[in-house]
Amino acid sequence: MKKSAYATTLSRYGRLSVLLLILVLVMTGCTAVAPAPAADTGAGGETAASADTPNVRFWNHWGAARVELVDQMIADFEEVHPDITVENLGQPWERRQENMFTALASNDPPEVVMATRSEILQLADDGLIVPITSMVEADDDVDLGKFYDAEINNMRWEGELYSMPMPTGGGITGIMLVNVDMFNEAGVEPWVPETWQELEDLAREFTVIDDRGIVQIGANVGTGAGAFFAWLYTNDGQIYSDDLRSVAFNSPEGVETLTWMVNFTNDINGGIQNVLDFYITGQEANETQPWYNDVELVNFPNVSIFFHMATLKPDLDWDLGLRPYNGNNDAAESHGISGEEFGWGYVIPAGVPEEKQQAAYEWVKKITYDMDGACWFMQQQSRPSPLKECNEDQMYYDVNPKWDLVRDSLERDVSVDILPIHNRVRDVVEQAVQAAMFGEKKPGRSIERCCRPGQRHH
């Protein structure tokens, strides 16, 4: 009898426990999947105090010294828009894409997400982000003509605008720096090469190699797909055909470009292994980079380097030129390319409720269009803005005597039309460039063969 009573008691407790547990799980589950009310997602009690205040969570990669600048923009924005709060969700660079897509795939995505141009096209093509065309058209303050054409066009897909740009998608590949201190040290009059052939001469003069590899490098023309695309445009080539229906990097110009890169790397720098070894501990923007240690004469940076130089080595004496072109090709000239790899925009995920989209747009406008937002943010970093007017500010000339050339490079940048599958095409080209660099295939054959799967991706 006692055992039976115990069993009954046990079963009663068991049933109760199960019911209680299910209840708790269901409640927590519901909380997890339901879109959180705006007031609950804020960082502080101030946000929670007002349920009507839209909270814009800003998913971005402006790290290091830029965090304070973003926070300053947020403070300014909230002063003008007391009905909106912005939360700075700075993200690490590591596993950037994985984290971003996980956030976008969630039921409660951030209201504004920083993404590259190719990602934006992919997201737009899949209908996962909201076009801002109608919001821009309804906004009397916005004149898209203030942007460089190449920059604003990078943000369009199939007739719709999905963001405004910031920073420049151009300026990534168009400029070239030379270390004047190294010229002086060598007792050579500083000069800036304008053609591939002049670059070869200069690099050959300054490169020093011993039995362990490169001690000092004249120039590194790159060993991957990004460098190949950049040099391709200085040899009058292009990645895709004008109608975007076929790849065009396998043209004679493409073969000539890759052949030149391989020969340069082998003949002047002693091969790709030397180059990889030389940069192995200094790939990021930090003081270990050869450029900051006076062992790299010519550098092909993007425009963010002006900010980094001011931080890491303000006394460095440098000169500026445009990316050299193939002097043996009459049609070739200096060009940078815009929007091929990076080119950043700020998108509003389709999962953001409609009532919050306008608030998100206001913040996008602040960081991409407003002179006291987007322009100020770029000026603080001494890097150019996609807004033409912003770059005319005297403060740029005060800190950068070669500013006219930076602007010239932006004007010369070619906006590269790419497809949502560009990352895959890029990977195919990367394989081809690597195969040629490591001597597995001749450059011409490598590019010709890689073109087949590239074409299939289309």
């Binding site: 055992k3 039976s4 069993a7 046990l10 079963s11 407790y13 068991g14 049933r15 426990s17 199960v18 547990l21 799980l25 590591e94 596993r95 894409q97 994985e98 897509f101 976008l104 795939a105 992919q122 899949d126 209908g127 996962l128 362990r212 590899g213 790709i272 292994q273 030397n274 990889l276 070894d277 192995i280 501990t281 599958i421 990352n423 895959r424 990977d427 394989q431 690597q434 195969a435 660099m437 490591f438 597995e440």
Partner: protein, 309 residues
Amino acid sequence: MASSQLDVERVSPARSTSTRKIKWSNWLGYVFIAPWLVSFLFFDAIPIVSGFYHSFTKWNAMGEAKWLGLANYEEALTRDPLFWKSVSNSLYFIGASVPLGIILAFFLALLLNANIRGQGAYRTIYYLPSVVPTVAAVIVWIFIFETRRGILNWGLELVGLPPVRWLSNPDAAMPALIIMSLWGFGATMIIFLAGLQGIPTELYEAAEVDGARLVQKLWKITVPLMTPTIFFTLIMNLVAAFQAFNNAFIMTGGGPNNATLLYMLHLYNNAFSFFRMGYASAMAVMLFIVVFGITVFVYRTSDRWVYYS
């Protein structure tokens, strides 16, 4: 026959009560393991089923999945050159890192099992690498592998060997990755240490009485009695090696020239660089089948070399 039936009927009420009691005892157990079960359901079981389904689709993780049938599998097996490259790289990595890792961990466990002063400190020191974050460890290893100033090349030169381009030479990059993987031997070593301490000392004493030497004791007593532990660590290290990703992702990115493109890295690239979740899911399913098959094979052959007595 009739008597037998009666017996059953006679005992059936008691059995019924017992069954009910056991049933409700089980319920209480389920309540206690419910948090794990729910976690397993949502974070393991459902993703596994979802991954299996999506391996037959074209899907980018957010939009609609489009049914492709076996196309992803067909592409991997017949048209993706990097698939087979990553398979061969992974087999190379597993074939070297798993046995070397087990041998190293076993050897160090033997040393740390010796009754010496400062035993605890030694154990802590040897286990430390296992708790160092991967990113920090990789950065340290990049400096160790550096061609010009790396400590490894310095050591090679001390013994009269030429320096090696560890991270830029496709032939040396995988050995570098394998050497680095040995760095994390701590967990395996701890398991071996626990196993060694379970071997009765009487066996060694008896062997000594019979005149056995150190090597004989190792081969005739220690190794046979450690085979269940070796079997366990073999399975665990095999599974972990198939899933190796972090070191290659951070240190080499799969290069140079795809020499360290491990299977998981290729899978990751497809999933998160090209947003081909369907294709990546197909790769994951194939990995699961291979790992499962090898695990079953090792398990089935274990009765020939594992001693549980």
